[in-house]
């Protein structure tokens, strides 16, 4: 064999092949299967295969009462369980024309922000782990534990809380709640800059993030992206601002927008949102109004005939709960517009043209929770 012969690169040919990413891939955080059409190491096309945790929730709730409906929604996006509950509770209250007390509104808003903080912390931890920085996981889980304890103390559960009920919340706040929240705010303000020092400025991290996975603002809207994914592209999509619910109209906070559209922009949006959550908590913790924590409702709730839609902002984006009622004790049809499902559509666009390792980084900034996609 003539070893001196030089092969020019245009003589080399590549062949397209298919690669399964998942369903048991550590970076998919659950059972998401992406069928990748590859050319060498470049992703040419992505096709999702969902349904590994499809539980038929939309069918299931057609045989359940409105009170039972709330408990199912915890299992959609289990990291935003409080917001999911709230969306259903608000939709039911809208239908029954119940005006809840200020205390309920403030409790719900505070719980929302605690949940958002916990969710973003978990995201930060596993995102670091996805791209090879294992320490972040330990830091994030250490601090998330404080929030879980606050939740446990008041609601009796750490993750799937089912704290909202139609017309209020299930229990009153624990007496230690304000004190603990203040402690948490103080602690988080100390550790968030530490997070930045640990990961945000890291050169390896920056190379994985900067300029990778660009999503243009037009595409973000057209592909249905919401939440931090859309705001990373500079699209105003915060439901807390666009259609305020609970106590969001009485607190001052900024809608965090980044113009980059890349991984780093989405990362920065979530990091800054944690500070915004702390701001909201700080404004409310000393101003929890007195009043009832439950409004009187009938034991068996029957919604009037009609269609009711409620939008809320979960940690992942816009959640819509669409209830069609025919006047009976069970809903006629319930549709959950889950943020992850539409964000996945944007991933199919963004992921094309990048290497597999980049796709892992892009997916981590999209922050999927698979039960939310599958429902």
């Amino acid at each position: 064999m003539d070893t001196t012969q030089v092969i020019s690169t245009d003589q080399l040919r590549s062949q397209e092949y298919f690669l399964n990413m998942g369903p048991q891939h550590p970076a998919t955080h659950g059972v998401l299967r992406l069928i990748l059409k590859m050319d060498g190491e470049i992703v040419k096309d992505i096709e999702p295969d969902l349904g590994y945790v499809h539980r038929g929730i939309e069918k299931m709730v057609e045989f359940e009462t409105y009170r039972q409906l709330i408990h199912v929604t915890d299992r959609l996006d289990y990291l935003s369980s409080h917001m999911n509950n709230e969306a259903v509770a608000l939709a039911i209250e809208k239908a029954l024309e119940i005006e809840v007390s200020d205390r309920i509104k403030v409790i719900r808003t505070m719980m929302d922000e605690l949940t958002r903080l916990a969710s973003h912390l978990l995201w930060w931890g596993v995102m670091g782990m996805d791209i090879g920085a294992l320490t972040t996981f330990m830091y994030a889980f250490r601090d998330r534990e404080m929030i879980n304890e606050i939740m446990e103390q008041t609601t009796g559960a750490r993750l799937t809380m089912s704290y909202n009920i139609p017309g209020g919340v299930m229990f009153d706040l624990h007496p230690e709640f304000p004190e603990r929240v203040k402690k948490l705010i103080k602690h988080m303000r100390k550790v968030l800059p530490e997070y930045d020092r640990l990961l945000t400025g890291n050169i390896i991290f920056k190379k994985r993030m900067e300029g990778v996975g660009y999503l243009s603002p037009e595409d973000a809207v057209n592909y249905g992206a919401t939440g931090p994914v859309a705001r990373g592209s500079g699209v105003k999509s915060d439901i807390r601002k666009r259609a305020p619910y609970s106590a969001y109209d009485r607190v001052n906070f900024n809608e965090v927008l980044e113009q980059g559209g890349d991984n780093l922009a989405r990362y920065n949006v979530r990091m800054k949102e944690m500070y915004e959550s702390l701001n909201i908590l700080e404004q409310l913790v000393d101003n929890i109004p007195e009043g009832p924590y439950q409004m009187p409702t009938r034991t068996l709730i029957k919604l009037p005939k009609g269609e009711f839609y409620q939008r809320v902002e979960t940690a992942r984006g816009e959640l819509g709960v669409f209830i069609v009622s025919d006047g009976k004790k069970n809903p006629y049809r319930v549709k959950f517009r889950s943020p992850g499902f539409s964000n996945l559509n944007a991933l199919l666009k963004v992921g094309k043209g990048w290497k597999i390792a980049d796709l892992v980084a892009i997916m981590s900034t999209f922050d999927f929770v698979i039960p939310d996609l599958d429902r």
Partner: protein, 167 residues
């Protein structure tokens, strides 16, 4: 635009939209549904005019509905249909559009994928669970359920004695 302005504006479209087949004289393009509770304007459009109507909603500068935030497949017993929730990011108004078909054996809707790409996955979901086919969709197949699954679970006449507990 407020709901009233939006309603008045859409009602002028009856004779303005020439790019689709003409609307019969005795019917109007949109039917406003007032009996549904809710704060948004609900309209119904005949299925034959749906695609042209939606394309105009997206393209028209006054309406500019650039964001399809929800798509719901419905089974109303005798009829199947789809409810579209549209929002304009520029103007901030919201419109709910629906269309229905009485054909339960072979329901066909036009795809909205080329107008709002977010419909891509939503249409696959509706096809999977309600069996509505979307003409022109790039990759219409089951998304949650296995390819050999029989029937469409979200239909009201779907029977499964083993999995569904009726109370």
């Amino acid at each position: 635009m407020t709901n009233e302005e939006l309603k008045a504006y859409l009602q002028t479209w009856d004779d303005k939209l020439e790019f689709i087949e003409p609307v019969p004289d005795d019917t109007s393009l949109i039917t406003v549904l007032d009996d549904l509770s809710g704060t948004w304007l609900n309209v119904e459009v005949p299925l034959s005019h749906l695609k042209g109507f939606m394309r105009q909603l997206h393209a028209d500068k006054e309406t500019a509905f650039d964001y399809l935030f929800n798509m719901t497949g419905m089974d109303w017993g005798k009829e199947l249909g789809v409810i579209y929730h549209l929002e304009s990011k520029r103007h901030g108004h919201i419109l709910v559009v629906r269309a229905r078909t009485a054909d339960r054996e072979n329901p066909v809707f036009p795809t909205m994928e080329d107008i709002w790409n977010t419909a891509h996955l939503h249409e696959r979901e509706i096809f999977d669970l309600l069996g509505i086919r979307f003409e022109g969709h790039s990759n219409l197949k089951r998304i949650f359920l296995t390819p050999d699954f029989k029937g469409y679970p979200l239909r009201k006449d779907y029977e499964d004695d083993y999995m569904i507990l009726r109370k």
